[in-house]
């Protein structure tokens, strides 16, 4: 069973066994508006929890995507380089950004679950 957690910077992270997938939430995608460019991390890049991992640009502005937990990037969603609009169409599915191997699953467990994130978004 995979589990999904969320950050207060509006990333989601899904853990399937040893590998985690990271993207931005529907709320983040709607706030950004039309995504026109995505810069993805290279495989092998190490990222700290909360560290800059990718960049997403809408027509208006550039935003950093932070790693929800520390670890090593194992792959990226190359489709987004040609079709950045996938981020708007399906932010929590086909619009994923990168996959990573976590250093410490405890960092994952500390993040918000769907209910907590839902409440967090409502409070904004």
């Amino acid at each position: 069973m995979s589990e999904v957690r969320y950050t207060d910077q509006h990333e989601w992270i899904r853990l399937d066994g040893e590998e985690a997938t990271v993207g931005i939430t529907k709320y983040a995608a709607e706030s950004l508006g039309d995504v026109v460019f995505v810069e993805l991390p290279a495989s092998g890049k190490t990222v700290a929890a909360g560290g800059e991992a990718a960049v997403v640009e809408s027509v208006k502005a550039a935003s950093d995507i932070y790693a929800p937990a520390g670890g090593t990037v194992t792959g990226a969603n190359g489709v987004l380089e040609k079709e950045p609009s996938k981020v708007n169409e399906d932010p929590e599915g086909a619009g994923w950004f990168f996959k990573m191997k976590l250093n410490d699953k405890a960092e994952f467990a500390k993040l918000m679950d769907a209910t907590a994130y839902g409440k967090f978004v409502e409070s904004l």
Binding site: G33, D34, V36, F37, K60, A62
Partner: protein, 369 residues
């Protein structure tokens, strides 16, 4: 980010923006729609393909009465030579000859006053400066209760003609008093998107009714500030406070076309010696990044050896080109079209080339020869 303590002003269309689902943001002291539910990309493309309606009521409108030619004290444009029924683009200059603002001025048929439109962010300062500079010669009356709409795109003419029969006779840069569905208006065949279109000045009390009538037409979508910015950038048009400001003169800004021929010969405007003193050290240019990553305002421009030669002043994504576009200032040795440069995006050099503007050809309705 919204600054909570800022008291934002509203245009007469504020309630309509909310009703249309406008995403409201602070801009030039006003609460304005950056986009509607369609989103910036669709709004941009719709304006190029069909017709978009923009609320630009935050801009400053005024009438200048008296010896209006004295406006030439603070603009290098040819004011005295402006014919009746015509509008013109001008730069407002500081005493040192740098750019205080850009503005439009019109001479309506049969009227002695000049009608002025200045930028929203600078209007208070502009109006005070104009009034002070023309003291004893001309009197400025501001019109804070007037609203301003822009109807832009290839179908704008067809749409407006339905509500103001005969308006299609107006050609590019012409201006006329007309009525739109009974409301008195000043209509000019101008805009800031590069497309054909109109700017429509109305009493604030009439603007909502007129805006609703226009939006009710199948061709028309409401367009926010986001698409207004991407449209004007593709059209190679300057945004005051970004591409031009009080640190630049008309020559550096590559806006010498707005300096009247007579004025160039007479050298009788602020900073004329400097502005007319030959090739400036830096020049405003268009820039096409080669990849897909947009290079934003503030991005450093380097030569191919990595030496910084300039900076981007406006940059983003051009939806009609499906590619990033930018403008900025570079040392004039690098200003020729086709010159390869690098842009330092997030610390990494990204190849780009100096390119002619407009990036998307203007499609103004010029009179048939």
């Amino acid at each position: 980010m919204t600054i909570a303590s800022e008291i934002l002003r509203r245009t007469p269309l504020h309630a309509l923006h909310l009703e249309l689902g406008g995403k409201m943001v602070p801009f030039a002291g006003y609460e304005m729609p950056v986009q509607y539910p369609a989103g910036i990309l669709k709004e941009h493309l719709h304006t190029r393909d069909s017709c978009g309606l923009f609320d630009v009521s935050h801009m400053g409108q005024a009438f200048l009465a008296g010896d209006t030619a004295k406006l030439e004290r603070i603009t290098p444009a040819d004011v005295a030579g402006l014919k009746e029924g015509m509008q013109r683009y001008g730069l407002l200059l500081t005493p040192a000859g740098t750019i205080k603002d850009d503005f439009m001025f019109s001479r309506l048929a049969g009227e002695s006053d000049l009608y002025l439109v200045v930028n929203a962010d600078t209007k208070e300062g502009d109006f005070a400066y104009i009034a002070e500079s023309l003291k004893g010669a001309a009197t400025l009356t501001t019109k804070p209760d007037r609203a301003l709409l822009a109807l832009q795109g290839p179908l704008a003419e067809e749409v407006l003609e339905r509500h103001s029969p005969g308006i299609s006779q107006l050609t590019f840069m012409k201006v006329v008093r007309a009525t739109i569905a009974g409301a008195p208006a000043i209509v000019s065949r101008t805009g800031y998107t590069g497309e054909d279109g109109f700017e429509i000045s109305l009493e604030g009390t009439d603007v909502e009714r007129v805006a609703r009538l226009l939006l009710n037409e199948n061709e028309v979508l409401p367009i926010g500030l986001g698409a207004r910015d991407s449209l004007r950038l593709e059209a190679g048009l300057c945004l005051y406070g970004h591409d031009i400001d009080e640190t630049r003169n008309p020559a550096q800004a590559n806006l010498m076309w707005s300096v009247g021929k007579r004025r160039k010969e007479a050298r009788d405007f602020p900073g004329a010696a400097e502005t007319l003193g030959g090739t400036p050290a830096i020049l405003r240019v268009g820039i096409r990044p080669e990849g897909r990553a947009p290079a934003r305002e503030g991005t450093e421009i380097t030569d191919k050896q990595g030496r910084v030669i300039g900076k981007i002043t406006s940059g983003g994504f051009g939806p009609s080109l499906n590619a990033p576009v930018a403008m900025g200032y570079v040392e004039s040795a690098f200003a020729a079209d086709g010159t390869p440069v690098d842009l330092l995006v997030r610390g990494k050099p990204m190849p780009a080339v100096i390119a002619p503007t407009p990036f998307v050809p203007h499609r103004y309705r010029r009179p048939q020869k």
